[in-house]
């Protein structure tokens, strides 16, 4: 009884949500195994099992290249964006300056403008950039990373700022008294303490970037420069439903890097590094 009260309900919640989470994924999985590759089936169990869709994905499309591009772009931009966000979050949480709250609100609101309208301006900016600095222009990963970093001061900053707020101020105050500079306080004391949230933000940024479609679609037109969502969308666009099997296979494979990153960061997210540190 006690077990049910303390642990059992946890499993119950876990299993129920897991069922909800997995049904569409199993559905996609069975479509990926279905050699006819349609998305219209109403069955959860695949009607045929073959890995033909997976092998065709690598043989007939540039999937390997898309995969690599996506991983490079998502890794670099999520790492950079977490760092930029953390810097800003520190300033918003620990420093008091004029325009702080207005600034905080502005970075959020600026992202509320519809992206489909911003496309025109992005063309405007990057047409010039491509002419002047082709190395960061259209069809380059570096250009797209820069563009994504424009959003680094955004939701993630808010998230991190919230966590900085939960750390007791005495921590940095006592360090300052001991002669530490603000940079030392930031890098040596605060950053390790917010490791879980750095990991969470990194994961969120990684997922956000690896799944980004709207901008990547207009930014990357060269076959060699495409990312996973752009390439995958191309499989089903204009094709009616002929490629849905391959599309589903690709969708599943897209989830793999995310799961790996999650595994990698899981240690920081769940080990509760802070538990001891806050004591003092």
């Amino acid at each position: 009884m006690r077990w049910i009260q303390q642990v059992g309900w946890r499993h119950l919640v876990g299993v129920l949500v897991l069922a909800f989470a997995m049904v569409p994924i199993v559905f996609v999985f069975s479509a990926a195994l279905n050699p006819l590759g349609t998305l219209s089936s109403s069955e959860l169990v695949p009607t045929g099992a073959s890995f033909g869709n997976f092998s065709r994905l690598f043989a007939d499309t540039g999937f390997g290249g898309w995969f690599l591009n996506s991983i490079v772009i998502a890794s670099v931009s999520s790492a950079a964006s977490v760092f930029i966000s953390a810097l800003a979050a520190y300033a918003f949480s620990r420093r008091r300056f004029r325009g702080r709250r207005v600034g905080l609100l502005s970075v959020l609101l600026i992202q509320m403008f519809p992206q489909f309208l911003a496309i025109v301006a992005i063309f405007l900016i990057f047409s010039t950039v491509t002419d002047l600095w082709p190395a960061i222009g259209f069809n380059t990963s570096s250009g797209l990373i820069l563009l994504y970093l424009g959003g680094a001061l955004g939701v993630n900053t808010w998230l991190m700022k919230g966590f900085f707020d939960t750390l007791p101020r005495e921590l940095d105050e006592s360090a300052t008294v001991d002669g530490a500079s603000h940079a030392q306080v930031f890098f040596r004391i605060l950053l390790p303490l917010v490791a879980p949230i750095l990991a969470v933000t990194a994961l969120l940024a990684f997922i956000g970037t690896i799944n980004e479609f709207l901008i990547a679609n207009v930014f990357l037109t060269d076959a060699g420069s495409k990312t996973l969502p752009v390439g995958l969308y191309g499989l089903v666009a204009g094709e009616r439903n002929a490629n849905f099997g391959m599309f589903c296979a690709g969708t599943l494979l897209t989830a793999i890097p995310t799961v790996l990153v999650f595994q990698l960061l899981q240690r920081y997210i769940t080990d509760g590094l802070t538990a001891g540190a806050v004591k003092g």
Binding site: G14, V28, I122, D165, T166, S181, A183
Partner: protein, 529 residues
């Protein structure tokens, strides 16, 4: 070597200096970063100088100088931390938004995208037709000078007489000493250097611009191997600021208020240009019955959707995080990996999958539960469906964040409450939840703001359906943003100016709501103070 190396305030330098090794690391990395900044600036400067972009160069120099100053002075500490993100934010977010907002005061859209000059060029080019009865010539591009820079000449062969002539801006003159291939194209001519396709393609703009005057019109290139005698049917006349038809004499006068050439009978030429229209897009939003009519209904649903999506994912995510936040739960890692999967899948793909799962006759959901619900056919079921999809897509986010937040809460705190004899629920409510809210409230606000404008959630699933039979413009699941999209891009081409104006109204609504809820978070910030 003191702590001030890293730019800290001078007053802090007095106590015992920290280990010098670390300061050197700090100094070196700082120098490296600043050096890199300058290096990038120098790299970026060369193309600007080459293209004589002096304004750009000045901005670049000023920004670099400001950055160097900022990081070399011990003052302006907050700015040191905000500068990297802010610069990127200004370039790639603030500028696009300001640009977009400025289009709200113009008629920018299909048919009115460019300048008046561009419209005139488009009108004239579109009116060039082959002179009736004339034939096409075989053509070779040649020059009297260097293939890369010499003056261009068209060597054209008359298809009937086989006479070869050289044509430039002064007109045609017959040539005799030429070699012609079977197709009639000149391959060599005395006094001329023949350009091959590769060479000619480098001078494409000059070739397109070259018109050899003839009595009936002008000979123009059609590619690199043929030419035709064409005549512009319409020409712009500066004296009357109008476009005149060269055969009928009919005129269309420029109207700078609407950005189009308008004829005496009110007929407009299709190619218009972008003009400033003041506040007319804004007044149109307020007076357009298609916008104003269903506005309140859509707004209410929009709030409902955003609140339900945010609240639903938060509750589910938090519940899950709490459930798995115990070392006694076996297989936590497996649970977590699987539970995060919905977030790891590309969302646009999964939205399409969900849409098909809701199909009345063929969908998985009706099939699994043996029901026959016309999900997207009824308002209530369609709304429930889109919220359910959002719940699926969004709970892993809240789960991750809540997990991170729970880890950050010192376990001693919740344990202490347990010892004090508080029930599990009481401990959660009095200790854990308030601490969680400190970290998560800003997130809930931002999540709300995101969902308020969650275009894909509707556009890739119901597309706004169901629509009442008498109003195909506004459906039951339409958000303001999808509705805007349909009005601005659905009929008569893209109307960016109008869309921007509606977006500004929506933006104001979100801003007000967010700002109000943000004000209420002030006390949360000072929880430890």
């Amino acid at each position: 070597m003191t702590a001030t190396m890293l730019g800290g305030p001078a007053t802090q330098a007095r106590p015992a200096p920290p280990e010098p090794t670390r300061s050197i690391v700090g100094l070196v990395s700082k120098a490296l970063l600043l050096g890199l900044t300058v290096a990038i600036a120098i790299w970026a400067a060369f193309p600007l100088i080459e293209n004589e972009q002096w304004t750009g160069l000045a901005v670049l120099a000023a920004t670099t100088a400001a950055l160097l100053y900022l990081y070399l002075t011990p003052r302006h500490i907050p700015l040191k931390y905000l500068a990297p993100g802010t610069i990127l934010l200004i370039l790639f977010q603030v500028f696009p938004v300001l640009y977009t907002a400025s289009t709200a005061f113009t008629n920018f859209g299909d048919g009115h995208r460019g300048s008046k000059d561009e419209a005139v060029v488009a009108i004239q080019t579109a009116s060039v037709t082959q002179v009736p009865g004339s034939q096409q010539y075989a053509m070779t591009v040649a020059t009297t000078g260097d293939p890369g820079t010499g003056p261009l000449v068209f060597l054209v062969t008359d298809p009937v007489t086989r006479q070869v002539s050289a044509g430039d801006a002064d007109g045609l003159k017959a040539l005799d000493d030429v070699t012609v291939n079977a197709a009639g194209r000149v391959t060599a001519a005395a006094g001329y250097t023949v350009l091959n396709a590769g060479q000619a393609s480098l001078r494409s703009a000059e070739i397109t611009a070259l018109a050899v005057p003839t009595p009936g019109g002008a000979i123009r290139s059609s590619g690199l191997s043929r030419a035709y005698e064409g005549r512009a049917g319409r020409a712009y006349d500066e004296s009357c600021d109008c476009v005149r038809d060269t055969t009928t004499g009919q005129t269309w006068t420029a109207d700078e208020n609407i950005g189009a050439f308008v004829g005496a009978n009110g007929e407009r030429l299709a190619q218009g240009w972008k003009v400033t229209v003041g506040f007319s897009n804004f007044t149109r939003v307020l007076t357009d019955s298609a916008v104003a009519g269903p506005f309140v209904r859509t707004l209410i649903w929009n709030f409902g959707f955003a609140i339900a999506s945010t609240g639903g994912t938060f509750v589910l995510g938090l519940l899950l995080a709490m459930a798995l936040h115990s070392p006694r739960v076996r297989g936590r890692t497996a649970y977590r990996v699987l539970l995060v999967l919905p977030y790891a899948m590309p969302s646009f793909a999964m939205l399409l999958v969900w849409r098909d799962m809701f199909n009345t006759d063929f969908g998985l959901i009706n099939n699994l539960f043996g029901t026959d619900v016309d999900w997207f056919g009824g308002s209530a079921s369609a709304r429930l469906a889109v919220i359910l999809v959002q719940l699926w897509l969004g709970y892993p986010y809240m789960f991750l964040v809540a997990t991170g937040a729970l880890q950050a809460i010192p376990r001693e705190l919740s344990e202490a409450s347990r010892i004090d004899g508080a029930s599990a629920w009481g401990g959660f409510r009095r200790i854990t939840l308030p601490l969680l809210m400190v970290a998560l409230t800003p997130l809930l606000i931002s999540s709300f703001a995101f969902n308020f404008n969650n275009f894909n959630a509707i556009y890739l699933t119901t597309e706004g359906a169901p629509f009442p039979a008498d109003n195909p413009a506004n459906g039951a699941t339409d958000l303001l943003i999808t509705y805007t999209y349909r009005i601005a891009f659905g009929g008569g081409g893209a109307q960016y100016g109008y869309a921007a104006a509606i977006s500004i109204f929506i933006f104001l609504i979100v801003a007000v709501v967010s700002a109000i809820s943000f004000r209420r978070t002030r006390h949360l910030e000072e929880v430890h103070a």
